[in-house]
């Protein structure tokens, strides 16, 4: 019976990878973002998860529109990063936990989630950056990637993603293979890269989202995906990964740390720690 030690959220703007590569953490532009990390790293040092689940969205590295899954679960021993076309340094392969992946897959299909199973899977910056940020020494635990479609509408609803997270939480509760698991969300918060509304950010919505995510995530289901696009931007839909993460941690979890900073690149950046 694994224990879910807590949930972590972070934005994953590709430029963060460039900043890490160039050592710009103390640069005035980047400092407010990187300053959000030490409390999370201390918590991780104390709570020592031996595996992580990462809810993220693929940005056109592993998946294309010929086979675009709503939910995809990795089940590989290693996940390779690769060239995304923007000159980010390619990361060393990340370790998987195939036994845990299959345990999660079995449970999800039993609970009527129609997932796509990936025994080989390239992982992009959205998977890699949280591990680089939270474990800067490269000692991140092995991971189970779960990708949520944010590329092509129709997207899964907030309610569906919350249910997905809860089903993953149930699977972890019945898992005997490792003792302590952290759940990570990668994405958001509000931002829009495309169209005449590019640069749209909605701080009021983000703050309210963070409050409700902690206290009453079911209430967020009142927002349709169309509402989320309107309120959080076309790429703000990445908050679906945060909703899934919220579902996987214990209902009584509270916000232990939050750092919200606008802007990083075009994005309202945030790091969050939820724990019982």
């Amino acid at each position: 019976m694994a224990e879910v030690v807590g949930g972590l959220g972070t934005s994953h703007v590709p430029a963060i990878g460039g900043a890490i590569a160039k050592g710009l953490q103390q640069d005035p532009y980047w400092k407010p973002f990187f300053d959000g990390l030490p409390p999370i790293r201390s918590w991780l040092a104390e709570n020592r998860p031996d595996a992580v689940i990462i809810f993220y969205n693929d940005h056109g590295l592993n998946f294309f529109l010929d086979k675009l899954p709503t939910f995809a679960v990795g089940a590989a021993p290693f996940y390779h990063n690769a060239d995304e076309g923007w000159g980010l340094p390619v990361q060393a392969p990340f370790r998987g936990v195939p036994d845990l992946s299959w345990h999660v897959i079995e449970h999800l299909v039993e609970r009527e989630f129609d997932i796509t199973t990936c025994q080989e899977m390239l992982v992009d910056h959205a998977f890699a950056l949280p591990l680089q940020l939270f474990w800067p020494d490269g000692d991140a635990p092995p991971a189970v990637p779960i990708a949520i479609n944010t590329v092509q509408h129709p997207l899964p609803s907030i309610s569906r993603c919350l249910k997905l997270g809860r089903a993953v939480g149930e699977a972890l509760a019945s898992w005997r293979g490792c003792k302590r698991v952290a759940v990570i969300a990668s994405g958001g918060l509000s931002h829009q890269l495309d169209g005449e509304r590019a640069g749209f950010i909605n701080k009021a919505f983000d703050q309210q989202f963070l409050d409700e995510l902690e206290a009453n995530p079911d209430a967020l289901s009142r927002y349709s995906i169309h509402d989320v696009v309107e309120l959080a931007g076309t790429q703000g839909v990445e908050l679906l990964t945060w909703v899934a993460m919220r579902g996987a941690v214990s209902a009584s979890s509270k916000r232990r740390h939050v750092n919200y900073h606008v802007p990083i690149s075009n994005t309202a950046a945030c790091q969050l720690l939820l724990a019982p």
Binding site: G85, G87, F200
Partner: protein, 118 residues
């Protein structure tokens, strides 16, 4: 397909209708994950576009770096970002292009959105 969604100013939803229009364009941009393909595109943009069966309108929009035009013709920003990468443009440059602002003004707008950070 739902065609009756309320419009959102300055925003195109990448749905089935857009995905159908843009399949070839997005497939070409997806190919830019490979350095070899990026080089082949740079060597002869028109030939590369035709190899992927882009429409004439899409080829013209590619040639003119017309991001809004590419979006209207079914381009998806996640794939178009790889085209922007070839051009050496970051997301703020692309934001400025689309909003008709200078990059400085676009950055100032983003900073203003965070006003009262904390």
């Amino acid at each position: 397909m739902e065609t009756s969604r309320r419009p959102i100013q300055g925003t195109t939803i990448f749905d089935g209708a857009q995905a159908m229009k843009g399949y070839a364009l997005n497939k070409m941009c997806f190919s830019f994950n490979s350095a070899e393909n990026r080089a082949a595109f740079a060597a002869d943009e028109g030939a590369y576009c035709r190899r992927f069966d882009l429409s004439e309108a899409q080829i013209k929009a590619m040639r003119e770096r017309d991001v809004l035009g590419l979006l209207a013709l079914g381009g998806n920003i996640y794939y178009l970002a790889k085209f922007a990468g070839i051009l050496g443009l970051n997301v703020q440059d692309v934001g400025a292009l689309q909003t008709g602002m200078t990059v400085e003004a676009f950055k100032a707008k983003l900073l203003a959105a965070g006003g009262g950070n904390g």
